[in-house]
Symmetry: C2
């Protein structure tokens, strides 16, 4: 494709996306495609000769769009928002256009240094501890996801705990990782991938009211495991769990970790970015004293399209110890000097895109003010919804709900237990099938709750009110 053709088709694609944004509410939020339907709409064999890009755009409308569940739809409430925004998309395009691969500082110094600067900016915006900044022993890095960050944290923690023995000789002997029943499944997956094993992921009790991890039980498990000869590797505290946005007591957990000499990873994938607002800085309590690693996703609630996880460590040495490897063909003067950062040693893969461009674009376009406004809007809409649900005697709402997620259920007069759950699930299926909105569910204490996550940039009062009206009507009809 020549530069002139790129100009022409590039404009068409930009217009296609702008049109898509303008007409997005005309689509059902949840795709109605049946399994195999998109596949059947695509030719079985690749083309022998090239086609114009117009043909791709035509098939995008014809085949792809009917199979899209619209994450950017203002009535998408199913999962934590995966915000895209104009500046993020343009940052992504610039990254593709430059086409650099930043595995080493030397393979594009700007790719590394812009990332370092932007992660320092984000640490400042969120008021994260000074020891996470790049001018000390720690630092920040962009990972693909909170899952990737969790795996990297476990590997670094294990390196610190066993002096590198497992990286050298393999995992020998029992290592343990500590989560709660509310911790994201990526921690268990990471423990499986790291050779620790699912059975050695210890599940700490939660307070049945707040669903927050119980530090006393963590303390007991750590003591018990150490006494039994296990090597505790990492404790994961969560700020804003996936199921209900519960917040673990990071400071108290950190004190337990410190006593036992165990790595504390704080997974704030969804809620961490709320700390752009001073009124949410309470979620950072205990980080400065106790967190060895911390991760939050600008690709969830901070207007940056997937993938963009921000991860910080208080000390980069164990990370480098766990992940560095230097074959001859990657040796270079800059790396050998020790004056530069090579982010390939901070992550699972070797290669890396220039993802800092999109986060840089977002922070500059919105500014701190704009980011705060975005988070506050999502929280306000969620709090208004929660108040409306609490006012309705036919529904109950799960407390607390400090961020943008509200969990609730109809009371289903006369029904309880499994029968009530079946009605709630059927209600959700009907609502989702309507295309008007998209919700998910979770279980708390074995009982089904609906999850409504608010925070897409296009979502307004009107969308939340309309959704609530549809839910009430559909429940009443059910």
């Amino acid at each position: 494709m020549t530069p002139e053709e790129f100009r022409r088709y590039g404009r068409q694609v930009v217009d296609w996306i702008a049109d898509y944004q303008e007409r997005i509410e005309s689509y059902p939020v949840l795709s109605r495609a049946l399994p195999g339907e998109v596949l059947a709409g695509l030719p079985e064999h690749p083309p022998e000769e090239g086609e114009g890009f117009d043909a791709v755009l035509a098939d995008l409308d014809r085949v792809v769009l009917p199979g899209i569940t619209h994450w950017q739809h203002p009535s998408f409430f199913a999962y934590f928002p995966a915000n895209a925004s104009g500046p993020a998309m343009l940052g992504e395009l610039l990254s593709a256009g430059l086409g650099v691969q930043g595995m080493l500082w030397a393979t594009s110094p700007a790719c590394t240094e812009l990332e370092t600067r932007v992660l320092d900016w984000l640490a400042e915006l969120l008021d994260l501890p000074a020891r996470f900044r790049s001018d000390g022993p720690g630092g920040g890095v962009i990972q693909d996801s909170a899952s990737g960050a969790a795996l990297v944290a476990i590997l670094a923690a294990m390196h610190r705990a066993d002096g590198g023995a497992s990286g050298r000789d393999g995992v020998t002997g029992r290592r343990t990782v500590y989560v709660s029943s509310q911790t994201h499944s990526s921690l268990e997956k990471a423990a499986r991938m790291a050779g620790i094993g699912a059975a050695n992921v210890r599940v700490v009790d939660v307070d049945p009211g707040t669903l927050a991890m119980e530090p006393a039980h963590l303390d007991a498990l750590l003591a018990e495991d150490a006494a039994a000869g296990a090597l505790p590797v990492l404790v994961c505290a969560t700020v804003g769990t996936t199921s209900t946005t519960a917040v673990d007591p990071v400071r108290a957990i950190g004190e337990v970790c410190r006593r036992h000499g165990v790595w504390l990873h704080v997974d704030a994938a969804y809620a961490g970015v709320a700390a752009v607002c001073p009124e949410f800085r309470w979620i950072n309590d205990g980080l400065a004293e106790h967190a060895d690693s911390y991760s939050t996703n600008p690709h969830k609630w901070l207007l940056t399209n997937f993938d963009c996880n921000a991860m910080w460590v208080a000390d980069r040495e164990p990370l480098l110890g766990a992940l560095s490897i230097l074959p001859e063909y990657l040796r270079n003067r800059a790396s050998a000097s020790g004056d530069v950062v090579d982010y390939r040693d901070w992550q699972v893969p070797l290669g890396r895109r220039f993802r800092a461009l999109k986060l840089w674009s977002v922070i500059r376009w919105y500014g701190a003010e704009g980011l705060r406004e975005h988070v506050r809007t999502g929280v306000r809409l969620a709090q208004d919804l929660a108040a409306a649900i609490a006012d309705d005697p036919a529904f109950e709402v799960l407390e607390p709900h400090p961020f943008g997620l509200v969990c609730f259920r109809p009371r289903w007069d006369g029904l309880a237990g499994d029968a009530a759950d079946a009605e709630t699930m059927a209600l959700m299926e009907r609502l989702n099938a309507s295309g008007d909105l998209y919700l998910t569910h979770t279980k708390v204490g074995g009982r089904v709750l609906l999850r409504m996550a608010i925070g897409a940039p296009a979502t307004t009062d009107a969308h939340v009110r309309a959704a609530w009206k549809r839910i009430r009507e559909e429940a009443a009809a059910g």
Copy 2:
């Protein structure tokens, strides 16, 4: 950013990229930025108020470009090409514009089914075995990189070898992985991350002439390790090594693997895509009978911007066994039906971008013909260069060089050993510092060779001839 603003700034960004493509030869290939220079050009603090996108573009020129090593420059010969192309960039932009997250089939059926179709297309284009196609027990998936694919392959292989014991209880006992000294470092890194340990990565001898793995030595090591009580997990054969594009004898290695019941992973990260051309289908020999997993990077030599690794498995069951996990909030009717693929169970992270769009765009724009033409051009330019080097008595060229990489060195009359190596390294540093071209080095038999990798879409005869002239002149002056 409103849709109208997006139209306006989107056009500016498209034009910026087209302009960049047109003027790319005016930049030094290797950035001349010193450590800290880009960092110093960026404000220390994030902006309080938002800025226009013009400001971002201005800083892109002012601060970022001087820190860019230009991977798309026609005289970038340092690493295997990381091709970007117009249709790939536009596919990436469409992916960002739709902003869907395809962790589950249900979260955007088109994201999953287009990927399935496009991986089947690519398998057909490369004439890969039928058992890699999605209509049998195997299938294809897009990973972030060959490193990610290697980790996933090891985890699946370990699951098959120990019946899931390591995922459940952690790695207990010695597991072994088999590579050669020429295998990419990501295999050792994956073995470390998976809890197997670097010391249990067994290095099989290579033929000193071809640098290809010796199946007889592999056989001996496997027998020795099994007799010593180790559990062999995976053998990695490489088609086109990073250092010199050596090709391991996949069929003979596969026969050894079959005899010992060990998983064969074939890493064809760079060279695999050459099989779009029938004259390169010999690299697939043995795959149909023996390969359990296979991986190649369209983001290297197939015009698709990073990241886009294509990985296939002959049997998806061990992969799912190693990587599946299903928390309540991800349960849904489609997944439970078993009628759909959830690609989150095929990879390390949970979330995933709609990367199939860019590969789809590339295959449609170029067609099979265009892809073959691209590979053939790179090979022809490399073979012409190798012939020119072989004709020059002041240089020697490493044989064989079947693809787009040529390894060579000046003979440095009167010098040998370390002294010659020092001259070769100094020559490379001078050439790279000139900005005219960018090379890397490797070591074969302990001696330094220059690597010149050809394959960027912008590279023509003229660029290769100019590079060769510069190299000869600089060597003569050295």
